[in-house]
Assembly symmetry: C2
Homo-oligomer: 192 residues x 2
């Protein structure tokens, strides 16, 4: 049972790293800055975390779990287009509230870590959306990928200012895009 002397724990380190990433950007998340935030020398952190890579992995895993939680509760009790919209908004809202954590989700995890993380829950949740649309299995996988791509792409491009600086209009386009995705799920092109 590890005892905290200046309050540094792998757990608290990860949470603080996530907050720091949200403030300065995931790419600027640094061991030195994190140590500074704890009033501690950077070398001291290496007792709790193997290296910067592991720290970033921890933030990524945290973010994946948080998003999965939000998505799950957004999906609860909804079906069809309702579920689609709720899921997509949960995803987008999280990215806007926690840009650093969102960026962390792109961080490449080694297969073991990914398996142990909530990455799997994500595909399952995305699949749950499709339950209301009655898609047969091979099409379901394709649809999951398209949805995931569209959500991820839209949120990323929006975050990096890819749509010009019209936040209001971007909201409208977002709704319209969700309408469009609903249409395509109801009229998924048959195999062949």
């Amino acid at each position: 049972m590890p005892v905290a002397r200046a309050g540094v724990t792998a757990e608290r380190l990860t949470r603080a790293a996530a907050e720091l990433a949200d403030e300065v950007g995931f790419a600027n998340l640094t061991v030195s800055a994190l140590a500074r935030r704890f009033g501690v020398k950077d070398a001291s952190l290496y007792s709790h975390v193997r290296n910067l890579r592991e720290l970033k992995e921890r933030v990524a895993v945290l973010a994946l779990a948080e998003v999965a939680d939000r998505a799950a509760s957004a999906l609860a009790g909804r079906a069809g287009k309702d579920a689609l919209v709720a899921f997509a908004n949960a995803y987008r809202d999280y990215a806007r509230e926690h840009p650093g954590r969102y960026a962390a989700m792109q961080f490449p995890l080694d297969p073991e870590t990914a398996e142990a993380s909530a990455a799997r829950r994500h595909s399952e949740l995305t699949r749950a959306i499709l339950r209301g649309y009655q898609l047969p299995e091979p099409d379901q996988t394709d649809a999951v990928r398209l949805l995931h791509s569209a959500f991820y792409g839209y949120v990323s491009l929006e975050a990096m200012g890819g749509f010009g600086h019209h936040p209001r209009e971007s909201d409208v386009s977002w709704s319209r895009s969700l309408d469009a995705l609903d249409v395509v799920l109801r009229n998924w092109p048959g195999a062949g």
Copy 2:
């Protein structure tokens, strides 16, 4: 007229940086590594490029121009779904051939540089795809954003291994997703 003594020019520097980025990843593009590649000390590069940021911007601008060129020639003489598929494949193929340059396109450019770059051509080209689908103006903008998001998202997720490691299946899902996008463009949900 600048004279080359060891062959270092802003031009050649940019091209070499793009190649280096493709090899080691855009995030690992470094002034030192680039200097090493030219058999020169890192400090020497600062006569040609202001700093690392400018170097990355140059690579981003180069990549945007190259992609726009490919997209333009893919679009030539095509319309409707043909155009959609050709454009999307040009985009995806470029990302696979030049992952570093592709990542560079995400690099945030300041507004002036973005304006001077090929970023504008990109929206115009994406809009050109829609010409065959006869969408009225407010919907057109939304559709451009959805298409861009889906292409960008799919290619990014694929590149970072987000779809598991089934390259063949990923090709199939890609075609299916393009089919689906074609469907949604032909049945775009009316305003309201």
